[in-house]
Symmetry: C2
């Protein structure tokens, strides 16, 4: 590791504040033809806080290959839009039926089910439109933009978070067996986290091999992240978590914790975290942030 815990926190919060400030101003990019209530619903969830992990990952991955934050920002914000869209839809009554998210009422509680569905749809489309519009005039090679968008699209489609959410919520799609939580974690969480770093790297100028190394990093990091999420769902209070804890058990979900127990899940997360670091060990350039992050995510408490 090239960063101490202290300098890591500084690095993390600097990128986080950059993302946060730009997200607050992004409502300006939503022109008047969008109905006011849809704008309100979209912006409510998009600016509801959170770690901003996905856009930070994207900015930092592009930076490894020499691209500044300002330039990769549209792609990074696109990933936060996708993440937000998936949260809005996951919380719907027909899905996880959750009323609390990041310490606030969920979107459908405030705006109604119909608008929450449409806000999610609109965010999913805006996630593509915003970077495609912003990057078109930014002198970024078009083939890199296409590749970054392809990776993004793959992560939210039938093989990505949508597929993962089906495995997680559809009783008929659930499977027995110890590898099922791994399958869910891969599709539901890791594919999107992985896409953030892979497409950030691709946009920044990584070659195929380097982009693949970042994809592998993201898949392992995402698995570790989901394991810690499962642990926190059992061990945290609503106040610490900002969302309703204990939902997995109530809904009889097959999680890492329900299958392997707390201690074993902690070990598994540590192993995934180490595999993540190993995956990018051959990358030339400063990958210190990604090494530090991998350790941090395993230790996080919310």
């Amino acid at each position: 590791m090239t960063h101490t815990a202290h300098s890591f926190n500084v690095l993390f919060s600097e990128a986080g504040e950059f993302v946060e400030s730009r997200l607050q101003g992004i409502a300006e990019a939503l022109p008047a033809p969008a109905p006011t209530r849809l704008r309100d619903s979209i912006m409510y969830s998009l600016t509801a806080g959170g770690k901003r992990l996905r856009p930070i990952l994207c900015l930092k991955a592009a930076q490894v290959f020499g691209m500044g934050w300002e330039r990769s920002l549209p792609l990074a914000l696109g990933f936060e839009m996708i993440h937000t869209a998936s949260l809005i839809h996951d919380d719907l009554p027909a899905m996880d039926n959750d009323v609390l998210r990041r310490g606030k009422p969920t979107n459908h509680v405030l705006f109604g089910e119909s608008l929450a569905i449409l806000a999610g749809d609109a965010l999913l489309a805006w996630a593509f439109e915003y970077p495609l519009t912003q990057l078109a005039g930014a002198d970024v090679p078009a083939d890199r933009i296409c590749e970054a968008m392809r990776i993004m699209a793959n992560a939210c489609g039938p093989f990505g978070i949508c597929g993962g959410q089906v495995l997680d919520t559809d009783p008929e799609s659930m499977e027995d067996g110890a590898d099922f939580p791994f399958k869910v974690a891969a599709q539901k969480t890791a594919v999107l986290i992985s896409a953030c770093v892979e497409s950030g790297a691709a946009l920044g100028g990584a070659d195929k091999k380097e982009a693949c190394a970042f994809r592998a990093y993201g898949m392992h990091l995402g698995a570790a992240f989901q394991m810690v999420d499962d642990i926190l769902d059992v061990t945290s209070s609503a106040e610490e978590l900002g969302k309703t804890p204990g939902k997995d058990a109530t809904q009889n979900k097959k999680t890492f914790v329900s299958l392997f127990g707390l201690e074993e899940t902690r070990s598994l997360a540590k192993i995934e975290s180490e595999k993540a670091i190993e995956a990018i060990s051959g990358i030339k350039g400063d990958t210190g942030f990604f090494e530090a992050l991998s350790g941090y995510l395993v230790e996080r408490t919310r």
Copy 2:
């Protein structure tokens, strides 16, 4: 007009059959990691029939600029995916709550609400992934792909069909005034139809001015299309229509017919149809299909 009614029908069905045959085979492009139930739900709605108007428009627009159907097909199918996604979500209980579509049970009736929401989301993402993946290896200039995808994304985002559906279903977003149905028609229907021809033209090699002419064509055609839809909702049986008629009146929607009456709406549709043809009058190349189509859509009975 350069085509008779007979040759127009032949041209229309030829492209329609091309699209239909490729859609039937597209399940192969959905790899195994996608859960079986999600695949079934997606393919059920994608292969449920329909006029395939949007992909046909896209193929034909690219063709005007010399690009063959085989090459523009991935983009064309992307538009059918978006259209299908919007129908699945529009039919949900929280939205139009419709149980019949194209003469068959709607997606959520067969697969449940949760899976229907996710199938729509997955189709929306696949609409970007499929063309970005297929076109990457097809020797189409990357800047044209980016522009085509940007147009597609714009049409399904907050300013496009999502915004239109909010205006159409959210009581608090409805407005009084004679221009409201025009606003809804523009966002809900015309923006997507317009995006099919504009992005097909852009992918095929149209310059900015030519692409804009096709966009204007699509906006007028789309308005005419929605007017005829409003008329058919009042005058047709469920059998003719393949979906539940009379829903607009039941739901107190502000349609062209409710505001202007049947005869006046027919006149308005004719005017829009003529404006569409005028918009592309300066295009070099064979635009006969688009002229014939504009007349046909006004006369259609389903």
